[in-house]
Amino acid sequence: MIDYIVGHINYWLIIAVMMVGLYTLMSRSNLIKKLAGLAMFQTAVILFYVSLGKVDGGTVPIVAEGYTLYSNPLPQVLMLTAIVVGVATTALGFALVIRIKEAYESVEEHEISQMDEKE
């Protein structure tokens, strides 16, 4: 049991990060904090992929003499794309928040929905 927990320590940490992200995303009313939660959530997934590719005792996947065990490079490559997507999402999110701030004079979700309802 202990072995199981310790052996998968990276996954437990990832899950923790993911949950913190999701919780922030759902519980905060401040739009910027929401975005921060979202970014954490995405980062957790990126970590997850990267740790997937790691093979115990494996090395960088460059063919060289003396090495037979390589880590899988594919997840890391994939995550380059995912990082780009994540950055784009966050940037777009912040752009929207700026526009919302201009339009509503607020970045608090409950205040905004109050204003929407009044109309």
Binding site: K34, V45, L52, L96, Y104
Partner: protein, 497 residues
């Protein structure tokens, strides 16, 4: 030769989009968009004709052999979806010209069209790719551009609608990504065909089941399957008209398509049947139909009404899928197309009302239908299709759905279809009643500068696009050769029959 055409579908908008953004002139931007959409449409038609009898077209990106490289494998289903997306994009582009000029600042129009093309690119990419990670990337390309497009709506509510869609959409896409990760961990591959082929070797792993749940949840969120639909009504009702037209007809459809691929191609059907997934999906579909139709009936704002009706129509597609037989799946696939045509037409109608009266609030639009009898007539045709009156596309879908439900003995579906149709009569009649039978309130022109006579008549482009839509509602209601053949071939290949 056709292999090269498939990649062109993605490459053309990819190259055209940044070029469009560079132009300052809104007319040029529009012309490029129309050209790009039309080109994609023509390519889709060519590909469709090639694969309609069950053939495949395969393209390997960069010459890398699958399962290492990314592969585009086009069968009737891919081509059909590509056809829907590019066809609707063409109609929306025709429609967009005046609508966009009316609703969006001149300076941002080229950017709008660039985002539109990126969205088209993303949706086409999803439709074509045979690689699950690539699918995620295209999903995000289309989503990101969608958020931007929605936020360009006239009202400030568009911003919050886009923001909450961004949050939920990203969560959905990330869920999908987690699912892909699990599946990759189990199988070591990202190629759909490859995973499916070697499925037996890793089927026993718990991971595979978790992967499926994550993927289905993620896609269901993007497809607005009840109860994950909450982003949809706001997003569609606040977006600029041309965007509502395009998205309502394509975005959720493409996600449903992704659901087919995951459920039928990636996983063996028996695998998720054992997980009781058909029963769950069927119940959700039935609830979606009734809930969506009922909520639509309650709405007082036309675009919101149509958006809720979309929730209901997605329910029909899910029901068709969950019935798991040829007729059901055919109905589901055909409904992707039929609903795209119907909803696009109705949203175009709503856009015309917005253009003419600056509001889509049914109360303020009273009697407006009498000022625009022809556009109104087109909307009525689409409304009848939504109900499912014979002679229109809506009837065809409901018919096959009924046939399938009776074959499988799912009487609950029959009851759902009946209730759904009755409620549909209710909400369509609500539109007709307010627009046509209520005596006009002469307040319906809001915030229009005096002396602006352009609002006095419907621009020709909008009217033409609207009538193309209405015409298609009737044409494909009477002549189902294309849609039925494509859907049947696709359904058979999904069911591996």
């Amino acid at each position: 030769m056709n292999e090269q055409l498939t990649i062109l579908l993605v490459v053309i908008p990819l190259i055209a989009a940044p070029i469009t953004a560079l132009f300052k002139n809104k007319d040029i931007a529009w012309a490029i968009t129309l050209l790009v959409s039309t080109a994609c449409f023509v390519l889709s038609v060519i590909i469709m004709l090639d694969v309609i009898d069950g053939k495949h077209v395969i393209y390997e990106l960069g010459g890398w052999r699958p399962p290492w490289g990314i592969e585009y494998k086009i069968d009737a289903l891919n081509a059909f979806i590509a056809l829907i997306v590019s066809g609707i994009a063409t109609i929306s582009s025709i429609y967009a010209k005046s609508s966009v000029e009316h609703e969006i600042d001149d300076s941002t129009i080229p950017l709008f069209y660039a985002a539109f093309q990126l969205c088209l690119l993303g949706l086409l990419g999803i439709a074509l790719t045979g690689d699950v990670f690539n699918l995620f990337v295209f999903l995000e390309i289309s989503s990101l551009s969608t958020y931007a497009l929605i936020s360009m709506g006239k009202h400030r509510k568009a911003l919050t609608a886009a923001f909450s869609y961004l949050i939920l959409g990203t969560v959905g896409a990330t869920f999908f990504l987690i699912g892909v990760g699990f599946l990759f961990a189990a199988s070591g591959s990202l190629n759909t065909a490859d995973i499916a082929q070697r499925f037996e070797t890793f089927a026993h792993m718990q991971l595979v089941e978790t992967a499926l749940i994550f993927m289905v949840l993620g896609i269901a969120l993007k497809a607005a399957v009840f109860p994950l639909h909450s982003w949809l009504p706001n997003a569609y009702s606040q977006a600029p008209s041309a965007v509502s037209v395009f998205l309502s007809a394509t975005a959720t459809k493409v996600s449903i398509y992704a659901l087919y691929r995951v459920l039928f191609d990636l996983y063996p059907v028996q695998y998720w049947v054992d997980m009781l997934m058909p029963q769950i999906l069927l119940s959700l579909g039935c609830v979606a139909v009734i809930y969506g139709s009922y909520r639509a009936w309650q709405q007082v704002e036309m675009k919101r009404l149509l958006a809720f009706s979309s929730v209901a129509q997605i329910g029909y597609m899910i029901i068709g899928l969950a019935l798991l037989n040829q007729n059901g799946l055919t109905a589901s696939i055909m409904h992707l197309f039929n609903h795209a045509v119907i909803k696009a037409t109705l949203f175009m109608g709503a856009g015309i009302l917005l253009y003419r009266a600056n509001t889509t609030d049914l109360g303020s639009l009273r009697g407006m239908g009498r000022d625009i009898p022809w556009s109104f007539a087109a909307m009525v045709i689409a409304g009848l299709s939504l109900i499912g009156v014979p002679g229109t596309v809506g009837f065809i879908t409901k018919w096959y759905l009924l046939e399938s439900a009776i074959e499988t003995g799912q009487w609950i579906v029959v009851v759902t279809i009946v209730i759904g149709s009755v409620l549909a009569i209710g909400y369509v009649w609500k539109i007709v009643e307010s627009l046509y039978f209520r005596s006009s309130r002469k307040v319906h022109i809001h915030a229009v500068e005096s002396g602006d006579d352009s609002v006095g008549k419907t621009p020709i482009g909008m009217a033409v696009a609207l009538w193309i839509g209405a015409g298609l509602c009737i044409f494909f209601g009477l002549n189902t050769d294309l849609s039925f053949d494509a859907a049947t071939t696709a359904a058979l290949s999904l069911l591996k029959q």
